[in-house]
């Protein structure tokens, strides 16, 4: 008796399965025909990190070159160093030459995306919120060296393009 009941239940499950695939068969496609169409949710994509520009000066990052992101990074793929102003001779004392001055803005900001694991710790640790995920979906390069991205140059380019 139970085996007959099981067989009937099994048969019914087959019908249910056919119903599900039948429903999908008539449902609209989810495929995006890529070169002719693009996905609509690219802004939700979390690509490599990028710098955030100042509100009044889009080409200059909010970054204060504290280097916390570089220290925090588990893959050590960020290289930051502050911009250094040339020494001002007027500030020399007692005949000693003046020291060059470290400015609170980065002179170098390199991201070696080859090593990056997109963990996001640099984004979290940044005290001035100067880092964020880009939605650079179409990141493709021909050599490994090109994965070393100059984020300052990228920010300037974005500012110029008015993004």
């Amino acid at each position: 008796m139970t085996s007959i009941k099981n067989a009937l239940a099994g048969l019914w499950s087959l019908v249910v399965g056919m119903g599900i695939t039948g429903k999908y068969f008539t449902a609209p496609l989810v495929t995006v025909f890529y070169p002719r169409q693009e996905a609509e949710n690219i802004e939700t994509y979390r690509g490599h990190v990028e710098l955030v520009g100042k509100e009044d000066e889009a080409g200059v990052p909010l970054c204060i070159a504290c280097g916390q992101c570089a220290r925090q990074c588990p893959s050590q793929c960020i290289t930051v160093s502050a911009k250094v102003a040339p020494a001002d001779p007027a500030e020399s004392k007692d005949g000693k030459p003046a020291k060059p001055k470290r400015l609170k803005t980065p002179g170098v900001f390199q991201l070696d995306y080859n090593l990056c694991s997109l963990c996001g710790q640099c984004v979290q640790v940044c005290p001035v919120d100067s880092l964020r995920y880009s939605n650079n979906v179409y990141f493709a390069v021909f050599t490994r060296q090109e994965t070393n991205i100059d984020l300052l140059e990228r920010l300037e380019r974005q500012a110029k393009e008015g993004k």
């Binding site: 087959l14 399965g17 056919m18 695939t21 999908y24 068969f25 496609l29 989810v30 495929t31 025909f33």
Partner: protein, 325 residues
Amino acid sequence: MINPEYYPLVRMVIFLVAMMAFVGLNALVLVYAERKIAGHVQRRPGPFHVGWHGLLQPLADAGKLMAKQLLTPWSSDKLLFWAAPLLSFLPVILLFLPIPFGETLYGLNVNLGVVLILAFSGLNVLALCLAGWASNNKYGLLGAARAVAQSVAYEIPLLISVLTVALMSGSLDLHAITVQQGAWPWQWYGVLNPLAFFIYFISILGETNRAPFDLPEGESELTAGFHTEYSGMGFGMFFLSEYANMVVVCCVASILFLGGYQGPIESGWWWFLLKVYALLFIIIWMRWTFPRVRFDQLLNINWRWLTPLALLNLVGTVIVLRLAG
């Protein structure tokens, strides 16, 4: 005007040539339908870029298959290895001979049409067996062994359900069976005896090695089963014969259970093709819904359910027919 009734040989030859064209064309249509249905069931478009909505994709695939080199494995039995695909494909054309596509649209008016089809469709098993054996390949051999065990097992409920219909109609002539059923669905044997239709339908899935019973070519464990070693048109022949066999069993199903070429309003070959392609659509739909069964499950379904059910159905039909006079 030549009356073809007086020239059965001419009629047969013309019909066979037409059927070869039909089998080839039908394979193209079914390959396209199979891939399109698979795509849409999974909410992708399927073939799309070759021709309008991928319509030329099967032609491109056929061209590729024909252009491919035919490899013969050095350790194989050369004669049997190349005899197998031919043996698989050639009898299939013959199976279409007694099938009435319409009132006058048939190749050979033979009063044992069902027997002819059942007899020659058995050759396909032999071909699969030869292919697996001659390949001298463990996957091929296992696939062939599975194909034989499966086909022999599923032949039994299939034959019994066909026998049930034969008893109901009192004839083995496909034309007579068609005519005995009316144009309307409630006059069809599939509606009068749904259990026989159900058993027949499950059995043809096993007979034609279609999913969920496609164990002879289970990719995950057997690479490609009996046709592992075949390249180019060697594989293409098995492929063609598989699709042609599907059409044949669906033709027989629509004649025995769905009233053949008869249909409401206006009977004709359009009703026949509609029924055949509706059945084929369901078979393809099932392929993309159900997972492959295990081999012991496959044989259990057959020996523990289908065969006893078919026998009970046969006995029940006999009793009902006797009581109804």
